[in-house]
Structures are given as structure tokens and as C-alpha cells.
């Protein structure tokens, strides 16, 4: 191996002893099980893949219409449609396991027992590096947001799952609460290794001709560039209150967006809705981040995490342009 040159950039980072090759991931529910886009994107260039949420039994999901575009974003109400953990293990994991990137299994459930059952089953499988727990889906009646907006329930789920695994345990938090930092604080205390911030924001759109909602479930989850400022503020809030790493999520469409999240306090980022627009965008963002670091003499992107400049004296032009 060549000796490191002056311009070499360390893109990798380590979380609880697990090394991830870079700081750009694809968010759960926006990259399927990876195989859908194998001809369009080289997932091996990513830090990791967060799988579509997995429940114990397959879930059909909500009736159409499930998605609608809104200003700079989209509302969705998929309803955790997924093939179930058993079919995932049988049909999808063998492909994912062969990839040269980390696989993080996202788990959704409608009871504490179901979370535990799914995780226990996945514990017996090779090829999964971490778990992300979805306690914050706004589009299902049972579980989902009921758990994620209840601080003690979120803590209880974290504590229960912590007992079942030594692997990296990430809790995905909802922004649909008054103080997201309280939830981050609780899951940190209960042994979570990291948090994902944020899941979608509850939103709504109406067709004025029919006077009907544009989604079959009336409300849905807002995502995309529209929510980036909100997500950044939530990451910043959480970063100030906990020590565990944060996966920043919310409308990331470029390396510049990803850098904002790192500065606000995210250790890594997940690209979500933009995968629908450009399936290879996450790989481009990872490459652009490396280029940015090299051109700016940053030897390790980790040096940027949480380094928001607290000098709040602004030149007017600078803050406007």
C-alpha cells in the first residue's frame, strides 16, 4: 500500500468498534432492499444501507394514493409496506451480504414483543452490522408514532432491545414532538449507541376541486429538501444534549447539504427522498464530500462534526448570500 500522501483524506469512521467506509448512507424506505437499483448505483461506495423497515409479518401497506408532491418535497403514506423479516432473510439478505458495505436492518413493529422477536431473529443472521429502530412512522395506526412520541415507551423499547444485542443499536427519532432532545436523552440513557434524526414531519395536502385529502390516510410524512432546515435544527438540538453519534437525515441533496449536517453535529448522514429522484445521488454526495475535504485540506471529515462557528457576529451580506 502506498504511504499516505499529504492530500489523503480519511473518509471512514468507527462506531462502537464497527468501521464504516464513509459518512454517507441511504435512509430506510428510500432504497428498498438494495437490489431494485443494482444496475443504477454502486452501493459499495456507500457507508451503508439502511433497509426498508422490517416487521415480523409482511405488511401490505396503505391503499393508494400513497404519495403526493408538495413544494420542494413529498408527502408519503406507505404504511410500512414490507416483505416481512422472514422473506427478507431468505430472499434479500443473501444479496446484501455480498455487498462491500454495511447493512443496517431497520425494524418496525406494533408491539414491544414484535420489536424483540424481529431483532432476535436477525441476531442469528450473518451480514447485519447494526439495527435502526423505527419508533417514529407517522403512517401506521398501531405502534409507529404512538411509541415515538411517548418518551417512556421509547426508553422501554431501547432498554429491551439493548439487552438482546451487542451490535450497534440506533434509534430513529420523530420530529413530531415538542422537544426531540428529551427523547434522545432517554434513549442514550437506556443504552442506544446512536440516534437517527429525523423521521418525516406530519403533513397534509388537499385537492380543492374534490375537497378530498391527497393521501388515502389524510395526513402523511413530509420529506425532501423542504424539511432540511427543520432537520438541521433538530440535529443541532440533539447534538447539544447527548454524547452519542447522530445520523442526520432530512432533504439532503448535495455534499453541501451533508456538510451542513456535519457542522450541526451529525457524525454521518442518510440520504432519503432524493434517492427517488436520482438513485445514484448518495454515491455522488460521498465522492463530492471527499473532494471537498481534499480541496480544503481536511484530513478527516470527522474533524468537522459539531464545529458550528458560534461567533454570531455577521456581516449582513455574508449571511444573505
Amino acid at each position: 500500500m502506498d504511504a499516505p500522501t499529504k492530500n489523503e483524506v480519511k473518509t471512514s469512521f468507527t462506531l462502537c468498534g464497527v468501521e464504516f467506509k464513509n459518512r454517507v448512507f441511504v435512509a430506510s424506505g428510500t432504497f428498498g432492499y438494495g437490489d431494485e437499483v443494482r444496475t443504477l448505483v454502486d452501493a459499495n461506495q456507500l457507508g451503508g444501507i439502511f433497509t426498508k423497515s422490517l416487521s415480523w409479518k409482511p405488511r401490505a401497506g396503505n391503499p393508494p394514493p400513497r404519495i403526493v408532491e408538495t413544494a420542494s418535497g413529498m408527502l408519503n403514506s406507505i404504511g410500512l409496506a414490507n416483505i416481512g423479516v422472514h422473506v427478507f432473510i431468505e430472499q434479500k439478505l443473501p444479496y446484501l451480504r455480498e455487498l462491500d458495505t454495511r447493512i443496517i436492518a431497520n425494524i418496525a413493529a406494533s408491539s414491544l414483543e414484535e420489536y424483540c422477536d424481529v431483532l432476535r431473529l436477525l441476531e442469528q443472521q450473518e451480514g447485519i452490522s447494526a439495527y435502526e429502530i423505527n419508533v417514529s412512522c407517522p403512517n401506521v395506526r398501531e405502534g409507529g408514532l404512538n411509541f415515538g412520541t411517548d418518551c417512556s415507551m421509547t426508553g422501554k423499547i431501547t432498554a429491551s432491545l439493548r439487552k438482546l444485542t451487542k451490535k450497534v443499536l440506533i434509534i430513529k427519532l420523530t420530529p413530531n414532538v415538542t422537544h426531540i432532545s428529551e427523547f434522545a436523552h432517554v434513549v442514550e440513557a437506556e443504552g442506544a449507541d446512536a440516534v437517527s434524526v429525523i423521521n418525516t414531519l406530519i403533513g397534509m395536502a388537499i385537492d380543492i376541486k374534490t375537497r378530498k385529502p391527497k393521501l388515502s390516510t389524510i395526513t402523511g410524512g413530509l420529506s425532501g429538501p423542504a424539511i432540511k432546515p427543520v432537520a438541521l435544527a433538530k440535529v443541532y438540538e440533539v447534538a447539544k444534549s447527548v454524547k452519542i453519534p447522530i445520523f442526520g437525515i432530512g432533504g439532503i441533496a448535495s455534499a453541501e447539504d451533508a456538510l451542513e449536517f456535519l457542522l450541526a453535529g451529525a457524525t454521518a448522514v442518510q440520504v432519503g427522498t432524493m434517492n427517488f429522484v436520482d438513485p445514484a445521488i448518495s454515491v455522488k454526495i460521498a465522492a463530492d464530500l471527499e473532494t471537498y475535504a481534499r480541496e480544503n485540506g481536511i484530513s478527516d471529515l470527522g474533524m468537522l462534526v459539531g464545529t458550528l462557528n458560534a461567533d454570531l457576529k455577521f456581516s449582513v451580506l455574508q449571511s444573505w448570500l
Binding site: G29, T30, F31, G32, E36, V37, T39, L40, K52, P58, A60, G61, P63, P64, P65, R66, I67, V68, E69, S72, G73, M74, N76, I78, A81, G224, P225, A253, T273, M274, N275, F276, V277, D278, P279, A280
Partner: protein, 269 residues
């Protein structure tokens, strides 16, 4: 009808993402545009019934998500799209001119099954549902199938018949052709003895497809339809475009990946 019981060979996605030069975009009838773009790769690999997912503008300059369009015709290295300019995304696309480019993902989805056992193909379209049929027409002609085309429109302002064969027209207001809907026009036609075994290929409003589905069932005719769905990605990532399936197994199929072409016996319209 026996086709529905045999599992269709799924076309694996050979989709690519390309920036393609627009050759031309012209209004061919009221609010209906024909856009031609250059892609030797898509032109070579696409099959009738497949679609492309198109981004007309850079991020921030237009709608966020792509818009899906049936591939209307292949002309050498040129791919043609026929669409109604009725929303932000389609109006933006309709203003593309020679020399500008569009971001195209495709070809996507499952094509029409044309190489099956029938003598006469009935192509039936409502409004802009005509879009996929010039491509299908040329493929059916290459196979030597007999072909009759039935188009239904609100009035005579919207009619598009280029590259179609043996066209019969119905208009709701009677301004051209048969006064009534296209299903009423086609119904007496299928009783003709000399058609041999018939297969229907259709695209249009759901209410029309539903009526056709019932007509096909009554007459024991195989009927394939091209469906629309609200979709973001077009490749199965977003799960945004479910259509309810008949029979056992999964409740929904996805329009983008399992369709957009479905046998009417396989879905609940």
C-alpha cells in the same frame, strides 16, 4: 384467458439514467405534445408498454420528482413521448426545445405481452391513453398480427392518430366519428366472426378500463391494460404506486415494477 395463470417472465430492469438531447417538442393537438429525444440505448432496448421517468429541470428549478411517461414510439435513435401538458412538470417539459436536455431514467416496467396466441389485436385508448400505442402498433405489425384501433375522446380537438392503423374514433360530443364512448364503439365489433382469436390492449381513464375489463370477461377475451400511478422513483424504491391484486398472495402490486402493463384478470381496477 389462460395467460393469467402462467407466470409472466419478469423483465429485469435494464434501466439507465441519461441526460438526453431533445430533438423537438411540438403541440400536435389541444394541450397534447410530442417530445422527441435522442437515446440510442433506450431506443434499442425499450419494448412497447414500457415507460421512462423524466426530470425536466434541475433540482430547485421545477418539480422535485420525476414524471413517468409511456414510450410512445421509437424512430431510429429517437424516443418519442406523447403527453398532456396539464401540470407544472408537464408544462415545463412541453417548453423543451431542440438543443436542451432532459434527465431520463428508463426503460422501466413490464412491457405488453405481444407474442402470445391471438389473431387480432384490438388497441383501445381513451384520451392521452393513446400514448403507448404507436410503438405497440409497429411491433404488432412486425409480428404480422391483424390490428384494429379504437380511440375515444371528449371532442374532435384532442385527436391524435399518427402511426396508428385501422383507426375507429368515438367522441363524447359526437363531433367526430361515433357519438358515445369507446367501449360502446368496440362492443359490437368484437362479435365479428372473422377476427379469429382476439386480444385487447388498452390504456385510458380507470372507468374506461374497468368497463373494458368487464367486456373482456363476458367475451372471454384476454385484456392487457397500461395503468397509471402516483410514483416518485419508477423503480420500486418508494412503494408509492400500489394497485390491488386479485387472488391470493400479496395484496398489492406496484405499477412501476410489476406493471405498468397488467392483465385485467390480475388487478382490481
Amino acid at each position: 384467458m389462460e395467460e393469467s395463470k402462467t407466470k409472466r417472465k419478469t423483465v429485469m430492469s435494464g434501466a439507465m439514467q441519461q441526460f438526453c438531447d431533445v430533438q423537438s417538442c411540438v403541440e400536435v393537438s389541444a394541450k397534447t405534445f410530442l417530445l422527441r429525444f435522442i437515446s440510442p440505448e433506450i431506443a434499442a432496448s425499450a419494448q412497447p408498454g414500457q415507460f421512462v421517468n423524466v426530470l425536466a429541470a434541475e433540482t430547485g428549478e421545477g418539480p422535485l420528482l420525476r414524471r413517468p411517461f409511456s414510450i410512445s414510439r421509437i424512430d431510429g435513435d429517437i424516443v418519442e413521448l406523447l403527453f398532456h401538458a396539464i401540470g407544472k412538470g408537464t408544462i415545463l417539459l412541453s417548453r423543451k426545445r431542440n438543443g436542451e436536455s432532459i434527465d431520463v431514467l428508463g426503460p422501466l416496467g413490464q412491457p405488453f405481452r405481444i407474442d402470445t396466441d391471438y389473431n387480432t389485436a384490438l388497441i383501445i385508448a381513451g384520451g392521452i391513453g393513446v400514448a403507448p400505442f404507436p410503438f405497440l402498433t409497429s411491433s404488432l405489425q412486425n409480428l404480422g398480427k391483424r390490428l384494429e384501433t379504437f380511440l375515444g375522446y371528449r371532442n374532435d380537438k384532442q385527436i391524435v392518430t399518427s402511426h396508428l392503423k385501422n383507426v375507429h374514433i368515438a367522441t363524447d360530443d359526437g363531433s367526430k366519428g361515433f357519438h358515445g364512448n369507446v367501449v360502446q364503439l368496440v362492443e359490437p365489433f368484437i362479435d365479428q366472426k372473422d377476427l379469429g382469436k382476439v386480444k385487447i390492449f388498452a390504456c385510458g381513464p380507470t372507468v374506461m378500463l374497468k368497463a373494458l375489463s368487464e367486456l373482456a370477461k363476458r367475451n372471454n377475451i384476454c385484456c392487457e391494460v397500461s395503468l397509471e400511478g402516483h410514483m416518485a422513483c419508477g423503480v420500486g424504491l418508494c412503494q408509492g404506486c400500489p394497485v390491488e391484486r386479485t387472488g391470493d398472495g400479496a395484496k398489492y402490486a406496484l405499477v412501476c415494477k410489476d406493471g405498468p402493463i397488467f392483465l385485467t384478470t390480475d388487478v382490481i381496477l
